[in-house]
């Protein structure tokens, strides 16, 4: 049995857990805790270790999805989680510009761990105040070779599109070699 993995990362409350929950065939093994810091009280719970989802591809291949903790104080775990990844998704809450700089920092950090293909998922595009994906490309200074995909993490079809776009990016890289 072969296993492969993708990482879903992004700032605090970007929608990483929700994305994995939308597509995983198992209940996401999520290590969520109640938020105690007032400054982070945007939602009631947050991921303190990691989310873990699974998609069985066929009888001898499994894809694991790992969600990283979004709070900065847990970033020591990122490098460990990123080992051996096929690629990574950086989730961004398109309605919260105050998190964009952090998203860019995360993108750069994961790239430094492993230069595998990545994709930016511009989440919460169903909300009125969401910044368009192309504007996010500019503010996050995402290079032309990296896709910025509009996304709604609670919508399975939208999540499929994000994962597929990442896989297409990997294929394109293989074709180019």
């Amino acid at each position: 049995m072969q296993t492969v993995k993708m990482i879903v990362t992004g700032p605090f409350s970007a929608g990483k857990t929700e994305l994995i929950q939308s597509i995983s065939e198992i209940d996401v093994v999520s290590t969520e805790r109640k938020i105690t810091r007032e400054s982070e009280r945007i939602k009631d719970q947050t991921t303190v270790a990691m989310d873990f989802g699974r998609i069985t591809i066929d009888e001898d291949l499994i894809l694991y999805l790992f969600g990283t903790p979004g709070q900065k104080r847990f970033d020591f775990m990122w490098e460990v989680l990123s080992e051996g990844m096929l690629g990574f998704v950086v989730m961004v809450d398109s309605t919260r510009p105050e998190t964009f700089r952090e998203a860019r920092r995360i993108l750069d950090t994961f790239r430094s761990y492993s230069p595998v293909p990545s994709i930016v998922a511009a989440n919460k595009q169903d909300l009125d105040d969401a910044w368009p994906a192309e504007d996010l490309r500019i503010v996050l200074r995402v290079e032309p070779g990296v896709k910025v995909v509009p996304c709604v993490a609670s919508d399975r079809e939208s999540v499929k599109k994000v994962l597929l776009e990442l896989l297409y990016s990997i294929l394109e890289l293989m074709d180019a070699e």
């Binding site: 080992e83 051996g84 700089r101 597929l164 990997i170």
Partner: protein, 286 residues
């Protein structure tokens, strides 16, 4: 008794606030990680600042302000050897070389420049010696601390933001291949031109700062504005081969010669193409 402590526990903003509210007279000695400063106060107002590595001889202050040339400074040193700043100031004013307001404005700006640098020190120690004022012969001024604290805090935030945007000054820059602003529409300051002239993937930002005698805040501000304008791009350093444990080098990687000027290329994951195709097929079906 002298007030003593660590900047990690009690920062500059808090110290100045205390000195202001308590209307203290004395000298605050601050030892940062690589510099030391002494800030003198009279009845809660800042009157003088000195810092290691910064020449505070009055003619040099005026040279930095663009009032004097190096020749002027040399001439004053020769003709008035050992004279304190106050005597030099008197001669300059009475001989009509400089107006008193202009001289005081530049001294004030020099003092403020130094105190704002101290705001960025968040590690080190401090000691406040009451009633001690080592300013004999110096030109002093009287600056209300409220505005210093507000401006210093604003600059500190700016400093933090710039440090966040450009955490590593060891990286290099290159010109953007397709600048977002047409070059003919760009107006650059003298300092920006000085930085621009050194943009090259072989020069780190720190080297450019050193060539141009700029401090970290100045170079960060300029580089940040050039990045924001889309004129330059960051050249990421080549990655260490030991870092990506799970992505072993392919045969072609091994044969490839490193190009120090090239941007790091994305590397394919260490799986076969067929696996990616199986993943795509399955996810499409979900």
């Amino acid at each position: 008794m002298a007030l003593r402590g660590k900047l990690e526990d009690f920062g500059i903003t808090q110290l100045l606030n205390l000195i202001n509210l308590a209307r203290k007279t004395g000298t605050l000695y601050v030892a940062g990680s690589d510099k030391e400063a002494c800030l003198c106060f009279r009845e809660g107002k800042l009157i003088y600042v000195s810092m290691t590595g910064v020449d505070d001889y009055l003619p040099v202050i005026l040279q930095r302000a663009g009032i004097f040339t190096e020749d002027h400074v040399r001439m004053i040193r020769t003709n008035m050897p050992g004279k304190p700043d106050q005597d030099i100031a008197k001669v300059l004013i009475t001989s009509g070389h400089l107006k008193q307001q202009v001289l005081l404005r530049h001294v004030r700006e020099h003092i403020l420049d130094l105190v704002f640098q101290v705001f960025s020190w968040n590690q080190g120690t401090f000691r406040f010696e009451p009633s001690e004022l080592p300013v004999q012969g110096r030109i002093t001024t009287s600056i209300a601390l409220e505005n210093v604290i507000m401006e210093g805090s604003r600059r500190l935030k700016e400093w933090e933001m710039l440090s966040d945007e450009l955490p590593d000054l060891g990286i290099a820059l290159k010109f953007a291949e397709r600048p977002t602003t047409p070059l003919r529409d760009i107006n650059l300051s003298v300092e920006e031109w000085r930085v621009i002239s050194f943009i090259n993937p072989r020069n780190s930002i720190l080297q450019i700062a050193n060539y141009n005698n700029m401090d970290e805040l100045q170079i960060r501000k300029i580089v940040y504005s050039l990045l924001q304008a889309g004129l330059v791009e960051i050249v990421h350093p080549p990655r260490s081969l030991s870092a990506p444990v799970a992505t072993p080098a392919t045969a072609s990687d091994k044969d490839a010669k490193p190009d120090p000027q090239a941007e790091p290329q994305m590397r394919r994951p260490a799986v076969k193409r067929g696996i990616i195709q199986r993943l795509i097929r399955r996810i499409r079906e979900l």
